[in-house]
Amino acid sequence: MTVRIVTDSLSDITDENSGGVDITIVPLTVLFGRETYIDRVTITTEEFYRRLTTQNILPSTTQPTPQAFADVYNRLAEETDEILVITLSSKLSGTYQSAMGAIEMMEKQCRVEVIDSETVAMGLGLVVLAAARAAQEGMKLDELVHFVHQALPRTHFIVYFDTLKYLAKGGRIGKAQGMLGAMLSVKPILTIKEGEISPVTRVRSQAAGIEYLYNFVTSFQHIEALAVEHSTQPEAAERLVDRLSASFPDKPIVRSIVSPVLGVHAGPNAIAATVLEGT
């Protein structure tokens, strides 16, 4: 039986960019005050960013409940005896705990392995996509766990934020704290390091930010897969995609929108790039 792959909505994997591989997504929840939305299910990313930027209410997010994962495990257990769950960094959300907690709540016999990716967005997404393809080709659970652990250190996620305002308000600023409160308008470039948001450098404009992202990607010798994401400006992301396609004509570039859950912290005009380094 094929191992089934489960991840959360922070992987930024959608029906459009998954290339038809079988992945089950457990969504996180977005709260605008008392209004509750299921990430990408009851609120579209476009609608989310419209509200984020036009309304004076700062949304918050919550992880899926253990029950939500247990429901998914029970359903998949009808069709398989092995499930691999890969979640976003446990330092940014309790999703990993929920996924772990759900194992005890299962009613069906089925092996479940949960991996904390220690990353987010397409940093997680590219690894999940690779794992799903490997599963489809028949890789079994133990091998897959090894495969994912090998792949995670090779994924490099980097993101340009137009502002640190949202990240600071959400309290997830991590080691980027030192970038706050600059007297000039500066735009941070951030990454995920050991599961936490971590500063890389600062630029003064989006154009300079995209340049930095481009140079970052092209600094890798071997590239297996690439992803480019935006929060509100698809055209700016496309400019980066065009330049990268010219430099790497044989590499498909996965396009996505930064999930509202991450968008709560990223804010508008963010652009992200992810490299899955080749071996």
């Binding site: 919550t62 929920s98 959400g170 309290g171």
Partner: protein, 544 residues
Amino acid sequence: MKQNEVITGQDFREMFACATAWLEKSASDIDALNVFPVPDGDTGTNMLLTMHSCMEEAYRAPDNSTSAIAQAIGKGALMGARGNSGVILSQILRGLAQDMAGKESLTGADFASALEEASRMAYKGLSNPVEGTILTVIKDAASAAQKLVSEGETSLISVMEAAVNAANESVANTPALLPILKESGVVDAGGQGLYTLLEGALHYLRGEAEQIQFRKPQMVASSVPMTARPSEMIAADEVPFGYCTEFMLKGQKLKPDKVRTKLEKKGESLIVVGDDTTVRIHIHTLDPGDIIHYAASLGTMHQISIRNMDEQHRDFLEMQKDKAPAVDIAIVAVVSGNGLAEVFSSLGVTAIVPGGQTMNPSTKDILHAIESTVSDKVIVLPNNKNIVLTAEQVTSLTNKDIEIVATETIPQGVAALLAFDFEADLTTNARLMRQAMPAVRSVEITRAVRSTKINGMKIKRKQAIGLLDGELVTVGDDTNSVLCDTLAKLDLDNKEIVTIYFGTDTEQTEAEQASIAIREQHPQLQVEVIRGDQPHYHYIVSVE
């Protein structure tokens, strides 16, 4: 609990229990923020112990009406208040209780009104209220709640949300009001504690009491940049803190106001709260015996605690050392003008050496700044052509690894600083910073000190002159016109950002006018105007 419009007594108690549990998760983080009034690192713990005393009483309340539980919480607060912030918190809780007397349940409007009373009580207990503390946070939370109610909102959860949001912003802004917070780069610990309690209450109202066991409160990030102090100012403060003295006084006709007046001159951070039969006293004094002696003449003393704050402070410094972010590479910059110093500090400079054109610092000044940093790898930004050589002398005088990134202007210094890569090592960073320098052009507008002829231009003494990357290129009588003429030498259509730092000789309005003129001609440009406070130079402008 969902869709909370109104809550009853039991929910009210559970809401407090949830708030206390939420505070408990971050008490030690709050301890670490504590720098005011005395950096003894116990704010979170004291607030938590105060809340524990409240909850004990709350479970002993005679009935389950909101009023009875609120009164019990207020009583528990007075009995168990610990430390400066704990006593102020107890005033807040007593204010809440007082306003809720006789209420069976709690609506949004009731809560807003109770917050106002809480704020009033908190200020009342202090002889010398200081802004930028828990006081400001309760005041801001109360006024936001009241505003929402006056706009017609009735539900408790909405009012609580407004209070939480306002408290968050208020905490983030505390360093703007209290300089010691700004210098230490922290927000107020007591304010953070109060915000955490309100947030915990909101979690309860949202029905998240179960989920929060997996989560942890976040510390509010300061919205104000930390100011790196000029290196010569970083000397140990040797003033003793004395003893934190606190106790409960029981008796008859105690008159808290009279007690407060009597003790006012005997120490710092005095708080006297309570009623005619029970008074809680908190004071930082060099002579606790004096205080105890006076109190003994009024009634009986209970829960007496006298702690040596100098000892506590030493322990706190040890704790801070463990918690402080490791500065791998320190950056020292030569800058003159408070505004520019703030710009450089806000971008991560560890130590500032005051100096610039016509007041070049000595090698010793720079060496002193380098030695004052905790890191053993230091990058130096001279920011002036005439200081580069002086800075280079330092390399042989210290055991630390030094890289001099030879910035010749302020804009080059900022560009180099921005290019700093948090992941890279010293040599790589020095290279990245040097590479970033040519990407920025520097324009400086100053006055000629004597009449002369340079580059075919006749210059009269005191005329405005414009320099482009250090070369004199324009002269004129009006500063703003000289600025525009100098900028015109650059291909502004292909530039993105112009940053204007105006000096002490220039009015902000004048600088704003220059900015408008530039934007009119080049609408694609992003123009920023920043107070630089630099002497001699009307404008220092970076174009990139």
